[in-house]
């Protein structure tokens, strides 16, 4: 239980910062390099690191697979929902300018924030889903080695 003590302590210290860095990349993506894709991968990486050090079951109890499934669908829906909202407001699909008709560039800001949030959710969930899918296969090696 106490093997890899250094790894355990260091990762416990690091994981919150990795997650916070993911959100920095996400929200600073509005002004500098960053955005949902990168942030999603970093966020998923924090959970994957946790799973590597503390075991898959611990990670699954922290972030249950059902959340991950929900997150995948929710991310796409946030993205698509933004588009549908712009439709309902009378614009083209994903034309964010219609959110604030009297000041289109503000609408663009709100729109891209929502969309990037959807991307973050979808990418992080998909990364975790892939990791869980590979990680939770029963280990049975028929045949050689």
């Amino acid at each position: 239980m106490n093997e890899h003590g250094i790894l355990r302590v260091v990762s416990k210290l690091l994981i919150p910062f990795i997650a916070i860095f993911a959100f920095y990349v996400q929200f600073h993506g509005d002004y500098g390099p960053g955005g949902g894709f990168q942030a999603g991968v970093i966020l998923a990486a924090s959970v994957i690191l946790y799973a590597l050090i503390f075991g898959l079951e611990a990670a699954k109890s922290a972030v249950p697979p059902s959340w991950v499934r929900f997150g995948m669908a929710m991310g796409v829906f946030l993205y698509g929902g933004t588009g549908v909202a712009t439709w309902l407001l009378g614009g083209e699909f994903l034309n964010y300018s219609v959110f604030t008709p009297d000041h289109p560039s503000h609408g663009q800001h709100y729109g891209i924030l929502l969309v990037e949030l959807g991307v973050l959710l979808a990418v992080a969930s998909v990364m975790l889903a892939i990791f869980y899918a590979f990680g939770s296969r029963p280990v049975n090696h028929p045949g050689e080695d």
Binding site: N95, P104, S105, P142, G143, E144
Partner: protein
């Protein structure tokens, strides 16, 4: 000689591309073939990044935060088009000092291609895991032999 150096990245890309393709076709191990495929795809990512490079161009990041609203519009012609409602307002903007940027579009494109590559690799690996579970091997020669036997036995079914 300078020509050679100025386009050495294309040389690297071609070498990577050929290596990747060669591995895909020459290897008989399912994982190795996927590795080859990834190398091949990565060479294309590099190719796109090379396309975006403008010589002497800066990274396409907005540095000047003063009057963000104004520079915002002036720096990217695309925003002008989107916000066509206030196109008149943009025309009345003052001239802003031009900065030479590298083209960010290929970077964005390749971000998409990277995601596609990750998805392809994930599916390829998932298939390999399943093949390993069903056939007990990831060597194509073994799988081919098993399939051949299966075909012969299938005749009796």
């Amino acid at each position: 000689m300078t020509d050679l150096f100025s386009s050495f990245n294309y040389g690297v890309i071609i070498i990577l591309m050929m290596l990747g393709l060669y591995v895909v076709f020459a290897a008989r191990n399912l994982i190795k073939r996927l590795v080859g495929l990834s190398v091949f795809q990565t060479s294309v990512f590099l190719f796109y990044i090379s396309l975006g490079k403008v010589s002497g161009g800066q990274p396409p990041i907005l540095v000047d935060s003063r009057g963000l609203e104004k520079t915002d519009h002036a720096a990217s012609p695309i925003v002008q088009v989107a916000a066509s409602d206030d196109i008149a307002a943009i025309h009345s903007l003052h001239h802003v000092e031009a900065v030479l940027y590298s083209n960010p579009l290929p970077h964005v494109l390749i971000l998409t291609a990277i995601v596609v590559g990750v998805a392809t690799l994930a599916i390829g690996l998932a298939l390999t895991v399943r093949i390993r579970e069903v056939y007990g091997s990831i060597e194509e020669d073994v799988i081919d032999r098993l399939d051949y036997q299966y075909n012969l036995e299938g005749a009796g079914e």
